[in-house]
Amino acid sequence: MRRMGNDQAEKTEPDAIARAIAYGVDITLLVENLKRTPTERIENLERWVAFLEEVRRAGEMKRKSDAARRKKAV
């Protein structure tokens, strides 16, 4: 399968791909995704969403513990 870096696409494709790149879409991620099956794409999403949830929870715990520390200091 052909690989396409963003720079290469920008030089040669004044089309939807170039517009997407200009908008900030990382075409390399799309090309990588397209190598996967649709099920793999969904499984990948679920792993990513679970990771985001972990990060969100960690941030929440940190904010709570910081608030408790500040309260104690006052």
């Binding site: 939807a16 790149i21 908008y23 090309v31 995704n33 649709p38 099920t39 999403l45 985001l52």
Partner: protein, 165 residues
């Protein structure tokens, strides 16, 4: 509740619910790299399918999202018949049931604008990339419009023969 798409699909399969995958999950199936946190489905509104939906979802304890837990809600065929679009939380993650898709129409039109994609070893109806783009354009919310450049790029990549279906 984190999204467990397989569990949601398995649950709907068991009752043979007629639906088309739309929205962010359709975009993911087509190769989008954007995150989505729920499963959006356009469902058939015939009486039998509403009953199938009721039976399928009951074990997942569907409740309305962003509504206080003490507000009584039962997702049964009657509720589904009296409403159209439902934004739900379930034990397998968030699920949006849409009776109509902007720019496409009801389930029958959604089926006519869908393609069969194998997801979790089963053929499923997924809104085509072209229809998804049309729906996002018509919906016109900023998050829909923001998704367009990526979806149009995916369409272009597909025309060039990239990707598995």
């Amino acid at each position: 509740m984190p999204l467990d798409a397989k569990k949601l699909f398995d649950t709907l399969d068991r009752e043979g619910v007629k639906c088309v995958i739309i929205g962010g999950m359709a975009a993911i199936a087509h190769g989008s790299a954007s995150a989505t946190f729920d499963l959006d489905l356009c469902y058939a509104r015939d009486d039998m399918n509403l009953e199938h939906l009721e039976r399928a979802l009951a074990p997942l304890h569907p409740r309305l999202r962003d509504v206080p837990a003490n507000v009584a809600f039962v997702l049964d065929a009657r509720t589904l018949r009296n409403g159209l679009n439902f934004t739900l939380s379930t034990d397998a993650g968030d699920l949006d049931l849409m009776g109509e898709v902007a720019g496409i129409g009801s389930y029958e039109q959604a089926v006519a604008n869908s393609e069969t994609i194998i997801i979790y070893s089963r053929p499923r109806s997924v809104l085509t990339l072209e229809a998804l783009i049309r729906a996002k354009r018509v919906a016109g919310r900023s998050r829909d419009l923001q998704a367009l450049p990526e979806l149009e790029a995916l369409l272009e990549l597909r025309k060039r023969g990239e990707g598995k279906v």
